[in-house]
Structure formats: structure tokens, C-alpha cells
Symmetry: C2
């Protein structure tokens, strides 16, 4: 009986505004990215954690009035059917602090944790920015030591190197919240002026030196006060440690202040040095007070987060993107549809010996089947026909070179595994 | 300058209702689950795809009135700031159909794809059911052949075997939408009776045989019509193929009908046979019409989806859960805080030789540092002190056995890599 179907308008195949579909080649890149991140994190003994993207909205409101505005205007926040206000996490750090605060009494410190969550921001569509991206997060909880800050930056450095970058390809710029606070205190700046100074520093690398000098002086501050030559002591100590550990591409930059309210010490950003992509890729820093949102005790913490898109841009301009390889090594095409079950058996023998194999079901003629194998980028083809069924001898074709090799069925697996 | 912080109520550390936090041991299990799934999918030549959890709500409404109710009552659906109605995907198949329909002209068929998405359902909290879980999806597009159905079931079978299950641990039960339709047609059942019959079949394995017989007869149907001995021809053909391919634990069960509207042919479910966990674990089937929602042409498809929770239960009752191993192999504790940078250098040497190493920053006394290493479950400990700095000879302690080995610094990496 044919099913009745209501006449409906055809649906669009577009993804939701501002998010991405990951077709196999794009997903293969993400998998490469994640595997490299996991490899580096594991080397440093970081444990992986994860959480739902759904969080109570209060988690993001608690950090003060400025954040409430962000929750209202820049996050996905909605009321669920139970009347709870829910937010799709815009970043991982509050979730991390919540999870650590929850089980801190059972944990060993220093705690080294990493995660690769997707995070959501409500961005205006016209800006062309993504509403969802993936982000590597690495954090240390429980140590106030500058060595912990140095390790986090060393981890960021190792991550860049693991992707094939040299020390000339990027630079780690360190700033200090304490440095900014000390200027504010020393010059007795009003809260408005202090805020203006922070915003001005944040814009420093985007405006000309003349503009910067003029605006600094408008705030009644001598521009020398903000010279990168006057390295604050907390930054100097970490720079010395990094140098001792072999990191040569780190330096002080007073313009590094970072956006989030919760930073409380040294902060840093990794910059791409490529002329076509000269910009901050990612960053982080010390935040010692965040767990205090949940209970009385504060727990020192330092960490960073790095997104998938900036990495792709970085690797792309340098030709460091990996080549896409399909999961199947061998494709078995069949001369007649009723050879499918025998071809499936042959595939089973190959799989048993760890050779990834896909089979055609014979719905189309042979030339179309071979075209499908080529479209998928599968390197080897076997055509299964009358002769193959009888003789138990098979012809393997290298689809790139066209070269053919005739093999007995029993020799087939070892041919592929010893390639 | 100390930062001012508004006095705020302390936040709860609870996760949002119905979702889970994944602490390292739980995440390690997920990683094992996903790696095993990926391994099997790769063996069969399936390519991985992915998409955002955000989808236009229309994607789930289009399948008819019944689905509109599901969208309204059982999904997370909200209006974004641009006035778009958005749904957190409750399943992956509509997204998959959308992605395939979008690029079908560039694709080679048969197309074998898999994904491991998280999916969301709005469940009433009192039922204690999860609102988010992870789900392995595998699908073939472009073949109407029963061999494709057989391959999907063989893939499900291989997945179970890859987790360590034997053929006695589970059973694959096949049903048929055509079989159900033919009964409805033959007996000329009204739409109400047809629906009642489907719901009754769906409940068959949850009620007694007497209850089932009575309710079938109330619908005016002889219970023999639904006998598992009358195997429909489409099911019989697939069962014969599976047998030929070495799958011995598959059988016909007229009660297998599956919930979703889009199924159009043979459907199946994998059942756990363990007395404490006897229930359907996961399932799938043929759905040949779904891409027609997007454009005129229909594309035959067959697939299945399997969730993380049922797998965990299955492995748990059989003692098949893998042991948790921390990412760090070696922990370096330090006798004095100012040895931290030297300990970091030693860790760098070990990491260069692929030995995962974590370092203590020396914020606490030595005995506390060693306790932290034990809490993390790290197998080896090195205490770095005055002697180690001078002599360049190091004592490695196996924390499980207590056994100590003294090694020259240069021998250290090879000690761990040859373990």
C-alpha cells in the first residue's frame, strides 16, 4: 500500500543561520584538529572533561551587571517548559568552574583539565560571524604559582608547534591585569577613566601610534607609563620561565588586557605573524576567583581557549592543512547485482584483516560504480565478476596510477596491509 | 588593588535538569565508546559528517501532523532574536537528509555516512529520563537493494562484537512496514484500527501473551495473522543474506514497527538478552522518502542510531566497561618550590620522547603532592630534590607496587617507553 503524504512546500536545505554543516572533508579537518589538541593535552597529563551545552542562565549573569547585558544580548537564552531560564553556553570557563567547585573535595590539586566543547554566541547575521564554533580549553586549578601560568603558555606553544608552526609563525604576547590596576591606583583614575584606559589598550593594536598617544594623553596619562619596555614584575617572571623552558617567541605587550571580567593576573594572546593573517588567534590568563561564585573558598586558576576557525585560517595561509583521505581503502564493484552477497563476503575477509572496504550494491552499471569509487577518492578498486567468482583470483586496480595487480583471494589482505 | 565584587548569592553547582556533566572517568568512557564506533564505521568505509545542534523548527514539522505535536511538546524549540523558530535536534536523520539533499549532485552513491551527535528531547523531569544523549548514526543513501539493509544490520552486529559482546548476548529482531501495511489492506482496517494495531504491536513485548491475544482479537484480527512463523518475503530475504554473512542471531518479530513515521520498509531492533537488562537497545530501518521533503526526487536510504546510555548499561551488566587510565604516566613532585622550573625541564625531556608527564608546582608539602598523584591514579612518581638536581640520577617509584628504580636522567624516557 502506497503511503499517503500530505502535499507540503519543499523545505530549504540551508543550515540554520550562522552555523555550519560538516561534510566529510570538513569533518575530517575537525577530527585532525581535535586529535592534535588531544595529543598535546595528553602529553602534559591533562584529563578530558565535558558537559552539556545547556546551562542555567544564572551561571552567566552572576559575574556582574556587565555580564547580564551580555547574557541578554549576545547569548541564546530561553525559558524551558518548566519555567527555567536556560543558556546555550557562550564559553566553557563558567561550566568548568561549576564542575570543579562541585567535586573539589574529592580532587587532587593541581588539577589539569581540558575539553573541546562547541560554544554559542548570538551574533548579528550581517556581521557574517559564526554563531557556533568549537573551542579547545585547557586549565590548571589549585596553583597560584607563576610556573602554572608558564605551563599554560608552554602548552599553547606546544599546540602551535604540533600543528607544524615554527616559532617565527606566531608570537605570545603577555599583559597583566595587576599592571593596569597599579596604573589606575598610582594615577588615582576615576572608574570611568579606568574603563576608558582598558578599552583604549584593547584597541591599541588596531589604531595608529599617533591616535593611541593622543587618546592616552586625553586621559591625562603620560604615554611612557604604558611603554612595553617597562615590563611588570609578574610578567617578567613568567617570561624568564618561558625562556628557560625553550620558548623564545614571548614578549610583554601592555595592550593585552582580555575582555572577560574574571581575569585577575597575567593574561596572554597568541598572534599570527603572517602578513595576510596578522591578528590575535586565541588567549587566556589567570582567574583566581571564579569558583567563589559557588562556595566560600577561592581556588587559583589559569587557562586558555582556542577556536577551530582561527586554527583553520592559520594552517590554511601556510599550506599546513592535512590532505583528505577517505575511510575506505578498497572499493568492490560488481558486474552483476546478484554478486553482491559474495562481494560482501570478500569485504568481510578484508575487514577481518583490518582493511577498510566498501561494497557497491550493483544498482547501477559497472562504469557508474567505478565513477562512485573515484568520487569518494577511494584508492583501490576490485571488480567482482563471473571470472572472480570461479577462479578465486582478483585484479586490484590503483585508481590514481591505473596500475593493476592480480592476486589470489588469500593474498589480498596482506597486499593492502603491507602497502 | 583588590577587585570589588558585588555581594551575590552563591550559585548551585548542579548541572541543568536532565543533562550530565562528564568528569574525566565518564568522559574517558565516552571516548572509548566513540573510538570503537569510529573504528567499526571506518572498517566499512563510512565517512563521518556532523552538523550544528541548531536546526530550523520546520525540519521536524514537515513530516505531518503527528510530528508537529512532537515538535511542540517534546523538543526544545524557541524563537531566536531574528524571529526564527529554532529546534535543538531531537534526532540526526532529518539533518542528514537535508545535507544529502543539498549536495546530492556532487555525491557518489551508494553513500555511506556516520556521525556521533548529541540529541535533545524535552522529557518531563519526573520520569528521570535524560534530556540530552549521544548517539551513533550510520546510514546508506542511494540503494534500494536488500543487501544495503543487510549491510546496515551487519554493521550493527559488528559494533556489538567490537564492544566484546558474543552472539548470545544480543539478538537482532526484524520487522516490516510492508507486512503491517499488507495486513491493514487485506483486512481493510480503518485508519483508527490500523493505528491501534501498530501501537499494540509496539507494546507486544511489554505485555503478556494473553493480553496481546485479547487486544488483537478486539480489533477483529485473528492472532495467527501476526505469527512470527509467517515471515514476510522482504524480511526473509535479508535474514538469508545475514545468515550467509555469518550473522546467526537475527530473526523475524512482527512486533518490531519503530516509532518514526518516515520508515518505509524493513525495520530492526537490537535486543539485549541479559536477564537484568532484557530490552531493545537501539534500532533503525529503511526510509526511502525523506529527501523528497527537499526536492522532487526520492532517494532510497537505510540506517540506524544507537545511544550512549544503552551501551553503557549493556557493557556494565557484563563487566565489559574498560578500566580508567589517566593521561599522565609520570608525576614529578618537587622537594622545594624553586625546583619547579627544573622539574618542568625534565618533564619536557620526557614529553619529547612521548612520555606523558605532569609536574607539581610545589605549592604544598611533598606528602600532599604525592597524595595528589595517587588521587589522579598516575602510575609512576619521581621526587625531584637537591640530590636529583646535583647527581642527575633519579628514583622512579611504581605507585601501585611501591617498587623503586634508580635511573640516570638520560635513561629515563626509554625506561617508560619500553615498559
Amino acid at each position: 500500500m502506497a503511503k499517503k503524504r500530505e502535499k507540503v512546500d519543499k523545505l530549504t536545505t540551508d543550515a540554520y543561520k550562522g552555523v555550519r554543516d560538516f561534510y566529510p572533508e570538513e569533518q575530517a579537518f575537525l577530527n585532525y584538529l581535535f586529535a592534535t589538541m588531544r595529543g598535546v593535552a595528553k602529553h602534559f597529563g591533562y584529563e578530558e572533561y565535558h558537559a552539556s551545552i545547556l546551562e542555567p542562565a544564572e551561571l552567566y549573569k552572576a559575574k556582574g551587571a556587565e555580564n547580564e547585558e551580555i547574557v541578554r544580548e549576545q547569548t541564546y537564552t530561553f525559558i524551558d517548559r518548566g519555567g527555567r531560564e536556560v543558556t546555550l553556553r557562550p564559553e566553557m570557563t563558567p561550566t568548568l568552574a561549576r564542575m570543579v567547585a562541585r567535586k573539589r573535595r574529592e580532587m587532587g590539586f593541581p588539577l589539569r583539565w581540558y575539553s573541546i566543547p562547541n560554544v554559542f554566541r548570538y551574533e548579528r547575521p550581517q556581521r557574517g560571524r559564526l554563531r557556533e564554533h568549537w573551542q579547545f580549553n585547557a586549565d590548571i586549578f589549585g596553583s597560584p604559582s607563576p610556573v602554572a601560568d608558564a605551563e599554560i603558555m608552554l602548552l599553547a606553544h606546544s599546540l602551535m608547534r604540533a600543528f607544524g608552526a615554527t616559532d617565527e609563525d606566531f608570537i605570545i604576547k603577555l599583559g597583566s591585569r595587576n599592571f593596569l590596576d597599579s596604573i589606575v591606583e598610582e594615577l588615582d583614575l576615576s572608574p570611568q577613566h579606568a574603563k576608558a584606559l582598558r578599552h583604549l589598550l584593547d584597541r591599541k593594536n588596531k589604531i595608529t601610534r599617533q591616535e593611541f598617544t593622543r587618546e592616552v594623553e586625553e586621559l591625562g596619562i603620560a604615554v611612557e607609563t604604558l611603554s612595553p619596555k617597562k615590563v611588570p614584575s609578574d610578567v617578567a617572571e613568567i617570561l624568564a620561565l618561558l625562556k628557560y623552558l625553550g620558548v623564545s617567541n614571548a614578549q610583554f605587550d601592555p595592550a593585552i588586557v582580555r575582555g572577560f571580567d574574571y581575569y585577575s593576573g597575567v593574561v596572554f594572546e597568541v598572534f599570527d605573524t603572517h602578513p595576510e593573517n596578522r591578528r590575535a588567534m586565541f588567549g587566556g590568563g589567570r582567574y583566581d576567583n571564579l569558583t567563589a561564585l559557588f562556595d566560600a573558598e577561592e581556588l587559583p586558576a589559569v587557562g586558555f581557549a582556542a577556536g577551530d576557525v582561527t586554527f583553520k585560517d592559520f594552517l590554511s595561509v601556510r599550506g599546513l592543512l592535512p590532505e583528505y583521505l577517505p575511510n575506505a581503502k578498497v572499493y568492490i564493484a560488481i558486474a552483476r547485482a546478484d554478486f553482491a552477497s559474495e562481494a560482501m563476503r570478500l569485504a568481510g575477509e578484508l575487514r577481518k584483516n583490518n582493511v577498510s572496504t566498501a561494497v557497491d550494491f550493483g544498482d547501477k552499471k559497472l562504469s557508474e560504480q567505478i565513477k562512485a569509487a573515484v568520487r569518494h577518492g577511494i584508492p583501490y578498486l576490485i571488480v567482482f565478476g563471473e571470472d572472480e567468482l570461479v577462479s578465486q583470483s582478483l585484479r586490484v586496480k590503483d585508481l590514481a596510477s591505473g596500475k593493476e595487480t592480480v592476486l589470489a583471494r588469500g593474498e589480498l589482505s596482506s597486499f593492502f596491509t603491507t602497502l
